[in-house]
């Protein structure tokens, strides 16, 4: 059983004053819950260790995918394969951040990895800023939260320059390289998530700018531009598979830009390997019966409760939960039906007294750095709520 405590909610006016405009769902209910999940230090430590352990496993499995050319198995669009290999081969393509989604860990049950959002994870603002502000507004000790997301991001931006070195040496090695931050026009959540990252980069010491992706100029042999200004780094809150499928010309240009070493793109193309839910099958093959993993297969599992998901589905879309006899327990329709299905053993999410389910999200930026929860029904989807947390001991 999972326990929550009621708190005074942050007002819409306050949330908007700090740039958080996606506070209300389409059904007019609040997206941020006025309750906090109570966790223990030991539970937080277990989430921290789990994310760090899994990241190492992802890296090992990523090398295995590259060595064995398993891109097709992961449903990776063919026009990104060279770009993925290229970004993987060179350390300068530093993975900025991702988010692990977990079941268990707070209900006395073991932590199990549901998936890793490695390319364009959101709920960043909620996790890094909003839940911290909730503690502050309620006069609670703000250090009692597993949340150094913003600081970890700043540190990881510095690693774009110092790589494995000491981030304290950033100023010594930084030579004025600039990061251009981009999101799609017309989505304030994407834009402000991107601007949050821009602010972190700024505070880290980078020269930065923002441009909507339709304003950005690309030249294969020259690099990435806003107007006439050239940028060494480009952060895009646009999924790699969307670039590959919807904007094939852009994928070709980016491939050339990276090959010619004219720009570094964040998150790197290889994060698409981790992002593919089919990667969970590779992990299961390499680490069979690992306690943090759920059995995953490209074919339906035999005689087991399981979840069918699509390799690049989002927000719970195209997800089906099957009972042991393959009867449908829950289903969310969606637009991702053309992607490859995978089948993952079902595990029940932690529940509160009202029977609502919770999924833990642990952000990772060089190491695990913050926890937040999504609350909903059996399948977390577009209308799931964000719930902050507090360490109770």
């Amino acid at each position: 059983m999972l326990y929550v405590e009621k708190i005074k909610p942050l007002s819409k006016e306050f949330l908007e004053s700090i740039g958080f405009y996606w506070h209300t769902d389409a059904d007019q209910t609040s997206y941020v819950v006025d309750e906090l999940v109570l966790v223990s230090t030991a539970e937080v430590e277990a989430y921290y260790e789990a994310a760090n352990t899994l990241y190492d496993m992802f890296v090992e499995a990523g090398q295995y995918v590259i060595d064995n050319n398993l891109f097709h198995e992961l449903n990776i669009p063919f026009n990104l394969v060279e770009l993925i290999k290229n970004s993987w081969a060179n350390d300068v393509h530093w993975h900025l951040y991702g988010r692990f989604d977990f079941a268990g860990g707070i209900d006395g049950k073991p932590i199990k990895l549901i998936e890793f959002n490695a390319d364009t994870p959101t709920s960043l603002y909620e996790t890094a800023i909003i839940q911290w502000a909730m503690l502050k507004a309620n006069g609670m000790d703000e250090a009692k939260q597993f949340n150094t997301v913003f600081e970890a991001l700043k540190e990881n931006f510095k690693r774009l320059v110092v790589l494995g070195g000491n981030t304290e040496d950033f100023a010594e090695y930084y030579d004025g390289w600039k990061i251009l931050f981009s999101s799609i026009r017309g989505n304030i959540e994407d834009e402000n998530t991107t601007r949050l990252l821009q602010t972190a980069a700024n505070e880290a010491g980078f020269h930065t700018d923002f441009a909507y992706i339709d304003e950005v100029g690309f030249n294969g042999s020259e690099g990435i531009f806003k107007g006439d200004e050239n940028f060494e780094f480009w952060f895009k809150l646009v999924p790699w598979e969307n670039i590959a499928i919807e904007e094939g010309d852009l994928a070709l240009l980016l491939d050339e830009i990276v090959r010619e070493q004219k720009a570094i793109i964040l998150n790197p193309a290889y994060t698409l390997l981790f992002q593919s839910k089919a990667f969970m099958k590779i992990l299961w093959d390499l680490f069979p019966n690992h306690p943090l993993l759920l059995e995953t297969s490209y074919e339906p599992l035999k005689g087991k409760k399981q979840v069918e998901k699509r390799a690049f589905g989002r927000e719970g879309a195209n997800t089906i939960i099957y009972d042991t006899d393959m009867s449908v327990m829950a289903k969310v329709e969606g637009d991702y039906g053309n992607f490859k299905p995978i089948y993952q053993a079902y595990v029940e999410l932690p529940k509160d007294v009202e029977g609502k389910s919770y999924q833990a999200g642990v952000f990772f930026a060089y190491e695990a750095c913050g926890l937040g929860f999504r609350r909903g029904g059996l399948i977390m989807e577009n209308f799931s709520k964000f719930v902050g947390h507090r360490i109770k001991d």
Partner: protein
């Protein structure tokens, strides 16, 4: 344990943390169409967080680039107060008088830096350099001031963080005459990755996952 620490809350959330505090205290101008984050990313000013000790000494705890210059004083009991522009101006003016009379620890090495008042601390910060720029050469070329500055931060890390984040070179743009392709994911194409085409800001649907 790196992630649970009794550290400055601002260190966790950076300049945005300060923005949150400013909004909570209702000191911010309300503006319907303002993108607070876009503002936060602009850096013409500095946010300074000053810690006051039980003995009345001041240290710079954190300092961040910011769109506007603001000073927050944290009292020994943990309460926080944002200084008004009038207070800042008065503090700086008072310290400037001391500099002229050679009674400021900022420029007089015989003075005990432990006596550094809030005005002196402010002028040690980068924000102080901005708001007190009219003092100019009297201060910034003074070797005592240069030596003094680093010691007025709560820790070497705080000083290092401050200097790193303010050390950005304003790099010149390199121009190119070559043709660039653009317009990808343009609003006209209707191919946005965003799963929703709604313009409502209230629906949490995005390119993200």
């Amino acid at each position: 344990m790196q992630y649970i620490r009794k550290i400055s809350d601002y260190m966790i959330a950076g300049g945005i943390g300060v923005m949150v505090l400013v909004s909570m205290q209702g000191c911010d101008q309300k503006d319907e169409n303002k993108n607070a984050l876009a503002d936060a990313a602009k850096t013409q000013g500095a946010l300074v967080i000053v810690d006051e000790s039980a003995t009345g000494e001041y240290k710079i705890a954190e300092e961040y680039p910011s769109s506007t210059t603001r000073v927050i004083v944290r009292k020994p009991d943990g309460s926080e107060r944002i200084l008004s522009q009038t207070e800042i101006d008065a503090l700086v003016k008072e310290e400037a008088k001391k500099i002229d009379n050679n009674t400021s620890p900022l420029t007089n090495s015989n003075m005990n830096s432990g006596q550094m008042g809030l005005g002196g601390i402010l002028l040690s910060s980068i924000a102080g350099g901005m708001i007190g720029s009219w003092i100019g050469g009297k201060l910034f070329n003074n070797p005592t001031y240069q030596n003094q500055r680093a010691t007025n931060y709560s820790s070497p890390q705080a000083y290092s963080r401050s200097t790193t984040s303010f050390n950005k070179p304003m790099s010149t743009s390199s121009t190119s005459s070559t043709t660039k392709s653009s317009g990808f994911f343009g609003s006209s194409s209707g191919s946005g990755s965003s799963s929703s085409s709604t313009s409502s800001s209230s629906v949490p649907s995005s390119s993200g996952s």
